[in-house]
């Protein structure tokens, strides 16, 4: 309403109003810039601060860090419990990635290329878990286990994480399949390639990048996951995420920052894989 009034005013009084408009625009641009800068700080500062304080010489976390030392990293690798849980997490993430991709790639094929009754329903079911918080998926599996005498274990965690991650993997591969140009396959066939060769050389090859990106994504999600793990992980041999959760609450040594820094490094490695395979723009969609 006030804007409309101002616009009418603009037309009526000419130059003066143009001035106020320019000032208002400049103020708007300033606020826009300030909020953007704040958003960027919020995105980058936490990781940066954690990395910096992991090198502090003090025995407690402090910012700015004092001195420079690698001793917290050495300390980290000296703790058997952390090494063990990291290995547990890697094992669980590898299994989850393998199972999820074995289910996701064929399912994506079927959902994009297949034509059969109930396809929409199958598609809806396969992406449904992403509407359910990890916590609820974990709790449901825990309760389900109580029915069939199936206890919290690495296997239960792997199953829960596969449910949790499957929609992401399916959607990434589906998006790639939808982008494929059918002309390429037709050209291959008309040039005399067998159907089998066309399928392997043309179709499968083109979805490899999306499958790698999906696998990288599932790996990091299942490696980092806490919400499913807190309910389904075995109390003995806890994954790294649960271990870190306890450390963050009860350990104030900079070793926790060192461990966190390594996880940030892992995230960057995964991001590199994603940008090299499908590109970061694609991931935004």
């Amino acid at each position: 309403m006030s804007e409309m009034a101002r616009e009418t005013h603009t037309v009526a009084t000419g130059l003066d109003a143009n001035n106020t408009m320019a000032i208002a625009d400049r103020l708007g641009a300033f606020i826009l810039g300030a909020l953007t800068v704040f958003a960027i700080i919020l995105l980058i500062a936490p990781s940066l601060i954690v990395i910096l304080i992991s090198f502090t010489e003090t025995a407690y976390i402090t910012f700015p860090p004092q001195g420079f030392t690698f001793k917290w990293y050495a300390d980290l690798f000296g703790r058997q419990q952390i090494i063990d849980s990291a290995l547990t997490s890697v094992r669980i993430a590898v299994w989850t990635t393998a199972i999820a991709m074995l289910l996701a790639v064929p399912a994506a094929f079927s959902l994009v290329r297949g034509r059969y009754p109930g396809k929409a329903f199958a598609g809806a079911l396969i992406v449904a878990p992403q509407m359910i918080p990890g916590m609820v998926i974990g709790i449901a599996l825990l309760f389900f286990g109580a029915y069939i005498a199936f206890r919290q274990s690495d296997l239960m965690l792997i199953l829960g994480l596969t449910v949790f991650c499957l929609p992401f993997a399916v959607r990434l591969v589906m998006a790639q399949l939808q982008l494929l140009d059918p002309a390429l396959e037709e050209a291959s066939l008309s040039l005399g390639a067998s159907k089998r060769m066309t399928f392997v050389q043309i179709t499968l090859r083109q979805i490899v990048p999306a499958a790698i990106a999906g696998a990288a994504f599932v790996f990091i999600e299942s490696f980092d996951n806490l919400t499913v793990a807190l309910f389904t992980a075995s109390p003995r041999g806890r994954p790294l995420s649960v271990e870190l959760y306890n450390l963050v609450q009860y350990d104030s040594s900079p070793m926790v920052a060192a461990l966190s820094s390594l996880e940030i490094l892992l995230a960057f490695v995964v991001m590199l894989v994603l940008s090299r395979t499908i590109g970061l723009e694609r991931l935004a969609k």
């Binding site: 909020l35 953007t36 960027i40 289910l103 389900f144 991001m271």
Partner: protein
């Protein structure tokens, strides 16, 4: 094998390829969800399910409990505030992205996606450092700047939880906004500017309404994530701080009252869906209203 596969696609079948995923999810997702639903209405004592019983006691006990409503309100307002804060910060950034060149776009994407791939605990841990105690970054900075002379308590407050959630969920708001803003049709904006409207008026009357689908997507995801997050409140809110999601965790993992825990989880999930639906409906309305405005 591959040949047969190919033929099947040509013939328009290929249903069996989705069967493994379908069966897997039926056993390990649908069945467990059904069990969760049944646990909310079955007598359970000390983790022992008494099969065949039906009870509404968890539902009525919960709904008549004043504490439940208080906790619900806390979850709701923390979720709403952090979602709005996310939006307020993400929109300008996404707008800047849409008007930037290649290098700046790549930089913003890296900044947005790298936290997305970093564990939520690590990112929350950072806030313990930033806000924590007298050695926290914010307190040290404020004292050195001479703005305060004694550390302020920042950790274990609503503020800490809201900021923590805003920071952790910010990328989920930025990505859908980037998608709609980068793909938007700029002719309307040019026309508006050409007719003498100010940049601010054009921004609020053309750009923002046109990006409604992205706004709705962002609000939906971030609200759902904030409303159901139990990690951040536990780490940054302190011992007494509780939300509905925290209660679910405590009932099931600490108190081991699975019946009540199941009921709270169902109420959390159900109410979350209601709010998401409301955001979607409001978005539709806003869109229709914007179209009518633009037409006149």
């Amino acid at each position: 094998m591959a040949e047969a596969l190919w033929t099947r696609f040509r013939e328009g079948r290929g249903i069996w390829l989705s069967v493994p995923a379908f069966v897997f999810l039926t056993i390990f997702f649908i069945a467990p969800m059904a069990v969760l639903l049944s646990f909310g209405f079955t007598e359970i004592e000390r983790g022992q399910v008494r099969e065949g019983t039906f009870t509404l006691k968890y539902l009525t006990n919960t709904l008549t409990d004043d504490l439940f409503w208080w906790v619900w309100w806390k979850s709701f307002y923390i979720g709403v505030l952090s979602t709005l804060l996310c939006f307020l910060l993400a929109y300008p950034l996404a707008y800047v992205y849409s008007n930037s060149g290649r290098v700046m776009r790549l930089l913003i994407l890296i900044l947005t996606i790298s936290p997305l791939l970093t564990s939520a605990i690590v990112r929350t841990y950072a806030w313990l450092v930033i806000l924590g105690g007298r050695r926290g970054v914010v307190n040290v900075t404020l004292i050195e700047l001479g703005l305060i002379d004694r550390p302020i308590r920042m950790l274990n407050t609503d503020f800490a939880v809201i900021m923590g959630m805003t920071q952790v969920h910010l990328p989920f708001m930025i990505l859908p906004l980037i998608t709609v803003l980068a793909a938007r049709d700029r002719n309307m904006e040019a026309a508006s500017l050409g007719m003498g409207a100010s940049r601010i008026a054009t921004f609020f009357k053309i750009t923002v309404p046109m990006s409604t689908p992205g706004i709705v997507a962002g609000l939906t995801i971030v609200f759902a994530l904030s409303y159901t997050n139990f990690i951040i409140p536990q780490l940054l809110g302190g011992g007494g701080f509780t939300t509905l999601a925290v209660q679910v965790y405590e009932q099931i993992v600490v108190i081991l009252d699975w019946g009540r825990g199941a009921m709270l989880a169902l109420l959390l999930l159900g109410s979350c869906f209601v709010f998401i639906l409301a955001i979607g409906l409001a978005g539709n309305r806003a869109m229709r209203w914007a179209e009518r405005e633009a037409a006149t």
